[in-house]
Assembly symmetry: C2
Homo-oligomer: 657 residues x 2
């Protein structure tokens, strides 16, 4: 026994259901750490502070209770605690137990806006929706060899393909070579060849019997830091057959980009992260094809011959097993932004081994392929007349301004407040999350809960509504302080903090009061301030104002619905004509889909990524001024928000400063 | 226990030295089969008939002797048997033993003509020897990124490479990406990049510190059915640093192409063959770099960035794991003849994972990359004035006729007689093989043995000499029958067969007489007849005669030296002016080297392989007539061999027919 282990505590065993996975850990281990040790994804947005409630698990076997060291928490009612529920992040395990993990993954992914094809008339995306992928299929008749005409199998196949596809040069992947001879003999030389390439050079990436009713498939994949979403697409029609979503298994290595980058620098960490993301994608591929039968038979990974992947720069580095460390070290440069096509087999993806994989190009360390692909889901790349802005707001906010002729982009660190992080009542947009809010003239709080469940917390769009209603109703001042006299009986003061009661204990899922505190509001203001000031600064870089922005496209991060009016009221979005705003949902997945179905789209994104100007906010001395000005509701300078100014003046909302 | 195994004999253990490998086999197993079961290569040219002597092994522990069922054999003397020697192919093992295998591999590979650079003046190869490989190295200075100039690492590297290499498009392999960021930060951005490609598009396949004294390396590899030879080459100077050779480990699965093709169709057989050839090549790569230090440090597989491989069509299919079955089924077409570059990592070769591998193109199922590469070792591909013939004679003989403007090729099944197969006294050109022969006017036999050892047998060049001397000396007639009165005391008659005594038992390695029998001579005549008739027929296809052939290049198969005069005397080669013949040795390896060092050579071979006309002898009705005519010494039609006719008439050699 090594000396360093002499004081090691006795190992205990924890079994996790429904996965039926067990780990051995020293007694005294934190339960959330044990869950991560087991490789099981479980979000805990609050970072182990015991206030987000996301890591609530039930101990179903073994002694639960005080002995686990669960700190008393307002989020965990006595009733739940009596049933063995504990918050994993504040629980210490001292003996063998069996733990039932909630199906958070299922809950969460259900809430992520599923992939829907845009209405091309309304969105102006008609050009982007034309089907013309870089892979295609030709049916040919390969003549049998004879003693007189004894060209090789490949040569006879190539001749047919050159003629059928109008190609000049044909090459063949090694995986195809292995079954080429058998394939062209199967049906008297009638065969369907899947080709990669659109120019004079083509590569044969698959062979199958001719006349097969089965089309060729592709996947569009959005690799988010938290969630991975993937759509199975018929490459011949553009039809989306299925969309599968799941938590990125890398979550066990850290919840945000920075912690992933740190994890990658541990011994073996980089390869572990690579395997985790590949494993998540492969599981989702399996889910997406599960039960997807067509008249030509069931779909298998072998039938998927092309993948379009969009993710932020760090996610793309990790998918390729490239250390992302320099992304977070000044001057913040990634190893690569643009790559040529990769082969699925080399990446470990469960597709046809010859399937080609395209990663949407990044512009810089904090403006990745999710953003460039996302732009395809807007008319910005084809529009010359108008000036548009695009924002993808999550933990990191990415902004783009411009049109077909010029594009500027920047990123800001918004913080996770609108995704439920750092806000006591915040939560992701899963079942039980309040997504819409209103406070009536009588001071009654009305809300809408996802899945009509008992409220567990408030998701991003709900928080925007809540903050706007509190401001407009005069319950908070423009600094975000709760006006005690206005809050009346909804005022909650405990442990030295002031809060506003959203719902009484008896009506909530947890059995305790749902409260938004001043600290929560401060975090929300910081986040919206970071986003707004970045938008403002980006425009100033090109001498423009919000008045000159014709369209404002909003993606990601806010759950199902973002109320634009309320977002303007709190100063998250600029005070522009409301019809100029367009909420688009998961543009990264949609953009990835558009790249998949049309190689013109891919080339467009590739070109655009080269031409975009990346503005590093860290080097802009005026950013801090902009940011400080935005730390009010809606802003220090009320003249920037004329409609809100009018509204607040009408309501006589007092301004503290 | 399964019913089928109820009668299974008790297992015994056989341990093989010097490899120290053990196998468990049922009692009663044939020892040669057990050796193959253990994966140990041991040739047995005679196919288990107990007459080639190549499978002689020594039982050093356990009971040896009659109990093993060794049949009495003229090839195994009582003296050797007393020391525990047995012929593995006719030995049945009944108890645990330890067997000392001879170092045949070492013996054999020593005898394969090592790779020597041709004298370009004499061979007319000066154009082919110019150094210009498809991989190159540039040294550049990558500027550090700054907050203002924050291009990705790859982008900054690409800019430098475009400038330094005059390239338009630069891509980067995934293995390089992984250490790109660290590499360009190692020495203030000074770096040496290895590039693949010669046109406007380049791929970065390796990065290393700038100013390294270490050049980049390539390997040229000849994959023979029996022997694999591999040269380590400095790609910047063309210098050959080392050549390693070894038996192809596929030998355990069969000695000739047909048996390999059959083995490939067994379950798992194809992948086993692929792994065996890859394993052999990797071992030879290890041998070739072992101890090859340069001032920049030791050479490793990582430093090898390009491989040029030449092998017959079946060997190339097996290297890629492609089933070669259709090569032996009418109409005898391979899956492929020409391929684009492959990646070393995908093939499993122990080189830089991004190293590119080029397989010399085949023309058809029985004229492979070893022949097209071999042509580069002749002036035929650049010569317009002369008409040349090229022959690579081994178990299969491949022929090419023509010049720069046209080339015809065919293959014939010559049989293994000149390689020691099917000839009782025959053996490969290893230590102990008689390689030169003369019979004096007095009837004394004089010979030269490889490594000056006691004679064990006769290799190809020795058999040609022997047969010629027997014919010219009047000891055999033109049908190959031994003239008993002329043979005198050298006449051996036993077991109903007639033979000519080469050496008495007391002078040989085995302690028994070394004899060539009439059956041996018949096999030799068949082989030489197949080769000659193929040569003759190929020329007739284009309306030419041997008189119009200006140069005749001979490669492979005959050991160190082939005596041209004697080859003509027996009718193996046509009766042309002697100075028109050129014996070139291992042209496949040399051609592979020439492809490696010059991409112009590669393109030339690629072009030539497309233009060559492949003649299928099986479909030529006149082939059998040609062949039958060639089954005499030197030929039925003595007028085809005027100088030999004169010689034989002078010697009054009786003609039996």
């Amino acid at each position: 026994m090594k000396q360093g282990h002499q004081n090691r505590k006795q190992d205990i065993s924890i079994r996790f259901m429904p996965f039926d996975v067990s780990v051995e850990v020293p007694a005294g281990t934190n339960l959330l750490e044990a869950i991560r040790e087991a490789g099981l994804p479980l979000k805990a947005s609050c970072g182990g502070e015991g206030n987000c409630g996301e890591c609530l698990v039930q101990v179903v076997k073994g002694s639960a209770g005080e002995s686990y060291g669960t700190k008393p928490s307002a989020i965990l009612s006595g009733e739940l605690a009596g049933k063995g529920y504990v918050l994993a992040c504040v629980t210490t395990v001292t003996g063998d137990i069996t733990v039932d993990l909630p199906h958070f993954e299922e809950l969460y992914i259900k809430s992520v806006a599923a992939f829907t094809l845009p209405d091309d008339e309304a969105t102006g995306l008609s050009g982007s929706l034309e089907i013309g992928p870089i892979v295609s299929r030709v049916e040919i008749q390969v003549p049998a060899a004879t003693l007189e005409d004894n060209y090789s199998d490949l040569a006879r196949l190539e001749i047919g393909i050159r003629k059928a596809a109008g190609a000049e040069q044909v090459t063949c992947g090694r995986a195809v070579l292995k079954h080429l001879a058998a394939a062209i003999r199967q049906d008297d030389g009638r065969i369907s060849a899947t080709l990669f390439g659109t120019g004079p050079a083509r590569t044969i990436i698959d062979l199958r019997p001719a006349g097969s009713a089965k089309p060729i498939y592709g996947i569009a994949c959005d690799i988010g830091t938290t969630t991975i979403a993937l759509s199975l697409v018929n490459l011949e029609t553009g039809e989306v057959l299925n969309t599968a979503m799941g938590l990125n298994r890398q979550l066990k290595c850290g919840e945000d980009i920075i912690s992933r980058i740190n994890y990658a620098s541990r011994p073996g960490g980089l390869d572990e992260l690579r395997k985790l993301v590949v494993g998540t994608i492969n599981t989702l591929i399996g889910k997406s094809i599960d039960g997807q039968g067509v008249s030509g038979g069931c779909i298998s990974g072998q039938d998927i011959v092309y993948a379009s992947v969009s993710g932020n720069t760090t996610m793309t580095h990790l998918l390729l097993g490239v250390d992302p460390r320099y992304i977070r070290e000044e001057p913040y440069v990634p190893t690569f932004n643009r790559l040529s096509f990769l082969e699925a087999a080399g990446l470990g993806l469960a597709l046809n081994p010859e399937a080609r994989v395209y990663c949407a190009p990044a512009v810089g360390s904090y403006v990745g392929g999710d953003i460039t692909a996302g732009l395809l889901a807007t008319p910005m790349l084809r529009d010359t007349d108008k000036i548009s802005m695009f924002i993808d707001a999550g933990t990191n906010g990415e902004l783009v301004a411009g049109n077909k002729d010029w594009l500027m982009t920047c990123a800001c660190s918004a913080g996770p407040a609108f995704e439920g992080g750092g806000v006591r009542c915040g939560m992701p947009a899963t079942a039980g999350a309040i997504e819409r809010f209103a406070i009536t003239g009588d001071g009654d709080v009305e809300y809408k809960v996802i899945d009509s469940a008992r409220p567990r917390g408030v998701c991003g769009s709900g928080l925007v509504d809540l903050l706007a209603e509190l401001l407009v109703g005069g319950y908070v001042d423009r600094q975000g302080k709760i006006r005690k006299e206005a809050a009346g009986e909804r005022l909650i003061e405990e442990d030295g903090s002031t809060g506003f009661l959203i719902e009484r204990a008896e009506e909530t899922y947890w059995g305790h009061d749902l409260v938004i505190t001043e600290r929560d509001i401060t975090n929300l203001i910081r986040t919206k301030g970071a986003v707004f000031s970045a938008c403002s600064l980006l425009l100033k870089q090109v001498g423009l104002t919000f008045d000159e922005v014709d369209a404002f496209y909003i993606a990601g991060g806010f759950g199902h619905h973002l109320d634009i009016e309320n977002a303007i009221r709190i100063g998250l979005l600029p005070d522009m004509e409301r019809e100029r705003f367009h909420y688009l949902g998961n543009t990264s997945l949609l953009g990835s889909y558009l790249i998949l179905i049309s190689d013109d789209n891919r080339k467009l994104v590739e070109d655009v990524s080269r031409k975009m100007t990346y503005v590093e906010l860290n080097t802009e001395p005026s950013y801090m001024n902009e940011y400080t000005g935005a730390l009010f509701l809606p802003h220090t300078d009320l003249d920037l928000f004329p409609t809100i100014k009018k509204l607040l003046n009408r309501g006589q909302t007092p301004i503290s400063r």
